[in-house]
Every structure is written in C-alpha cells, then in structure tokens.
C-alpha cells in the first residue's frame, strides 16, 4: 500500500493510494490532469512525465536507458524527470510527492 501526492501544473494537489500496478495507471485511475499514458504504459509515448523530489530520486531507482531517451522527447525534461509508467506502486514510494510536468 502506498499513498502519494500528485501536484498538477495548475497547482492542484491530489492524494491517491494504491497497492499494485504502475504509478501512471494509478494517476489515470484517479484522473490526475497531465498524465495521459497514451501508449498504455509501455514507455513509448512520454505522456506520463513527472518530476520526483531530488531526495526521493535514488530511492525509486535509476531509469532504464529507453526511459531516459524517451524523456528527451519532452521539452520540459529536467534532472529529476521520470516517466511514471516505469515506476511501480509499492511501499518504496509511500509518502512521496510527484509534480506533473505538463
């Protein structure tokens, strides 16, 4: 079980919880604005872009090469960017806050 907070570009904040699946699926299930997940979660579209808190980045683990490359499609890419379809919902992310990039 993990509770996380999404902060959207219009400064809305939403706390959601889940226990399985990807963070993208959790965001879509809760209608988080700016998380589209057009490709259904196979790291092919870069429409689930979030910023992770710097302190949390290492805890989640490094993105794979394909994810890092796909992030370059988005002009808003930053040092602590992730595609949240590649992040599993688990205790690891419990309590974290994610800023939606678009």
């Amino acid at each position: 079980m993990a509770k996380v907070i999404f902060v959207t570009q219009n400064n809305g904040s939403m706390e959601v919880e889940g226990d399985s699946g990807s963070l993208m699926e959790l965001a879509v299930a809760n209608g988080v604005a700016g998380i589209d997940g057009d490709c259904g979660g196979v790291c092919s579209c870069a429409t689930c872009h979030i910023y992770v808190e710097p302190a949390d980045f290492e805890k989640i683990g490094q993105p794979e090469e394909i994810e890092s490359d796909m992030l370059q499609l988005d002009d808003n890419v930053r040092e602590f960017s992730r595609l949240c379809c590649q992040i599993e919902v688990s205790e690891v992310i419990d309590g974290m806050t994610f800023v939606v990039a678009n």
Binding site: D38, G40, G41, V42, C43, E65, D69
Partner: protein, 448 residues
C-alpha cells in the same frame, strides 16, 4: 454570441468511445465546453487501450483490460457514457441520431469516431471454423471480447496449434504472445514479405528472422484459399496445396473503416471520412476523428489514413480546440473540404508527426514518420539487438524505425518535427554515437 444558458443546452454527441472519442470528450471539457457530452459505443466494456490486447491482455493470466479512464472520471467530467449502444442512423438535416433501441438523440455538434473493424477475407470455409460444440474458432483481434475469446480458445485447445493469416503488426504481435504461452504458431503472409505495405525489406527481414528464431513457422507469398474441417482440426489450405492444421485461426489481414454512419449522414467519404485540418467533415456541424478518417497532410502532401493512437489523440485535441474556439491560427472554410485545405494557413511544423510502436518478444520497435516514397535508406547498427533504419527522399528525412533504440527514435522525431537535416555521412558510419549536436544540422527551408 451564445448566452450561458444556451451553451449549457448544447448537445455534443460522440459516436465511438475508443481512444479518439474518449480523448475528444475529456478535451472538450478541459477546453471549456459547457453543454452536454453524450459518448456512445457499441462495445459494452469500459473504454480501454487496444494496443495491449495482442500483448499484455493475451499473455497475462488475469483478465486484464487497461481502461483509458476510470469510470469515476466520466462522472466527474459530466460525460454521459452510453456503452453497448448501436447507432443505426444519422440525420444531418434534422441533426439527430437514432439508436437501435429507437431512442432519438438530437445533436448540435456530432463527432464520428467509429474507427475500423477487422477485414474478414472471403476464404472458403473460414466462417465455418467452429469447434464440436459450435463455438467459434476463428478470430480477429480488435476488441477486448476478441482477446478474451482468443485466450479461451488457446486454453481449451488440445495441441495449442494456431494459424495466423496475415503477417501484419497485429498478426506478428499475436504470434509473439502465443509463443510466450507455449503455442505452436504458423504465420501465413500473402505478399513476398511481411509488413510489405508499411516497411522496407530491412525491417521485414529482421522481423521474419526474429519470429523464425523464436519458433514461428512463417511463410510468405502464399495465398490461403480454403479452410477444411476435419474432426477437431481446421486445415488451412494454401494456393500451392500446402496445408497447416490449426486448433484455431487468427485473421489479421487489414481493416475496413467504419464509414457507414458518415455515409448515411451524407458527408464526403472516400476510403475514410474526409476531414479538413480541424477534423471537420463536409457538414459544418459534423466532425470525424481517429482511424475512420482521412485528411490531407501538408507535411506529406497527400491524403493520409492513419490507424494509430497518436493520430486519434492529436485529432481529438484539435477538434476539441476548434469547437471550443481555442485553436489559434486556423482559417476554416466550410464550403468544401478541399477549399478548407487550400485555405489552411497553419505552418507545417504544427502538423503532428505520425508515430507508432510495436512490441514483439523482447524487441521494441518504434517508428516515427512515414517511409512511403523514400529513395534511400541508411541502416545504423548499434549492436546485434539494437539498430535503426533512416528513410530519406533526397536530403529530407521521412521516417525512422528504431529497434531497441529509443535514442534514434527521439532524434528522428526531433529532425522530422523541426525539418532538420541529418548528417548522412555520420549516420552511415558504424559505431557513431548518435547525438543531437553531431547528427542534426540545420532546418531544411524548403519542404517539398
């Protein structure tokens, strides 16, 4: 100018609740559409992603559907979702649609997002492919119900022997999933190469070898002429007399655009519903988006019929922005579709670049652009499992196909999107580290 109350009373009807229709509904709300949104689909399932059907849905033990949006999201956005509803007619004069249950719904604006159905070829005996209890044993892969039926057929088959007619993306993705599930798979392609309509010999040969290495019996240049039923087997017979026994059969030989309702409405339809740059048909209050449409591409200077998530999503955004008056620089002229296109003053760079993907085995194929009309291709080999194919017409990059190499896909996207020129000599040199600064030179000033 509408008053607030008038805006609230407007009816937006969207026929088709797959990626295009659902995206349009949510975009309309985001863009400030105040009236009703009535979203209809004949499929009873909560609208879902289709691409995973041939992959995740087939391969996982659970019954997995990947919803596009949570049910609650439709309620929160006041989108009236009507599933399992067949629309039988559209009257463009009275501006109303009729459902199979005789209900009549008036519309102020209509969006036709009816997509495609699988084309079932008229092969002798194919439609009689049923098991001993009369349960269907030939399938297309188009809907969630199809995926469940195919899973069930595989589970209940004696020898897990499957024949796939058609070596297109759907057929190949199914083949990959069946192999993962321990099935014996045959793919029969009519053309001399698989994917011959959409890619080059390079990619076709690579995927052919990949599937054969994984154990697929993949044949090309063979026409299926008949299916014979013997005891509990279905024998797929080719024109040259070869026979392939199957417990069940998958058909993946292309699609038919669902244009019947658009035709009934009297709007311009050729192979697809013809739309202008803002997805408007030849009727000013009837729009069309997604797989069922065709539009004139400024970028490619021809009519395009794209079957892709990307096109569905882009057109949904465009139509929502246009209807709500939020599209910045467009000159719509509703007299005829062709006039509109000539009057369209949007710069080329605003037109979305088509992109596609396909996952087979551990192989991730990503495609940006359209390769039709290329006169040169350059293969850039990174490693045994990673390479990209770059398609050019003279100096202009048309398309990049990348296998397990998102970097090449991203560079190709940037080059095509911004009309950058690619340094071909660097590209063709093996072991070149692909980077934006080394590879992409300058904007190409003249497009055509």
């Amino acid at each position: 100018m509408q008053t607030k109350d008038e805006a609230l009373n407007l009816n937006m009807v969207i026929i088709g609740a797959s990626h295009a229709g659902v995206s349009a509904a949510f975009n309309l709300r985001q863009q400030g559409w105040k009236g009703r949104i009535i979203l209809l689909d004949r499929d009873p399932q909560l609208p879902y992603h289709r691409p995973p059907l041939s992959k995740k849905t087939l391969q996982s033990d659970a019954l997995v559907s990947s919803p596009l949006k949570a049910e609650k999201a439709y309620i929160d956005n006041e989108i009236s979702l009507n599933l399992g509803q067949n629309v039988t007619s559209v009257d463009s004069k009275t501006q109303q649609i009729t459902l199979a249950n005789s209900e009549v719904i008036p519309f102020d604006k209509l969006i036709i997002a009816t997509g495609c159905d699988a084309f079932i070829p008229p092969i002798k005996g194919l439609s009689d492919t049923v098991d001993e209890t009369g349960v269907n044993r030939f399938f297309a892969m188009r809907t969630y119900a199809d995926a469940l039926a195919i899973k069930s057929a595989l589970t209940n088959s004696k020898d897990k022997q499957v024949v796939i007619i058609g070596g297109g993306y759907i057929g190949l993705e199914c083949a990959s999933s069946f192999i993962a599930l321990g099935a014996k798979v045959t793919v029969i392609e009519k053309q001399s190469h698989i994917l011959s309509r959409v890619t080059s010999h390079v990619m076709s040969d690579f995927l052919t070898q990949l599937h054969r290495d994984k154990g697929v019996t993949l044949t090309t240049g063979k026409d299926v002429v008949e299916v014979i039923h013997q005891a509990d087997k279905h024998i797929v017979v080719c024109g040259d007399g070869t026979q392939y026994p199957a417990d069940f059969i998958i058909v993946g030989v292309g699609v038919r655009r669902n244009t019947q309702l658009a035709i009934a409405a009297g709007v311009d339809v050729e192979q697809g519903v013809k739309v202008n740059a803002v997805c408007q048909t030849s009727h000013p209050n009837i729009f069309s988006i997604g797989d069922c449409t065709e539009y004139f591409s400024q970028r490619y200077q021809r009519w395009l019929k794209l079957e892709s998530v990307q096109n569905a999503v882009e057109q949904a955004k465009t139509v929502a922005q246009f209807i709500t008056g939020n599209l910045p620089t467009v000159v719509p002229d509703t007299n005829t579709v062709n006039q509109t296109i000539q009057n369209d003053s949007r710069p080329n760079t605003q037109e979305a670049v088509p992109w596609f993907w396909s996952d087979q085995y551990q192989c991730k194929l990503q495609i940006v652009g359209l390769s039709d009309g290329y006169d040169e291709l350059i293969v850039c080999q990174e490693s045994a499992e990673q390479f990209s194919v770059w398609y050019f017409k003279a100096d202009r990059l048309l398309c990049v196909e990348a296998v397990n190499l998102a970097k090449a896909y991203v560079l190709g996207t940037q080059a095509i999107k911004h009309n950058m020129q690619v340094n071909k000599s660097l590209l063709s040199a093996l072991d070149t580290e692909l980077t934006k600064t080394s590879l992409l030179i300058e904007p190409v000033t003249s497009l055509n």
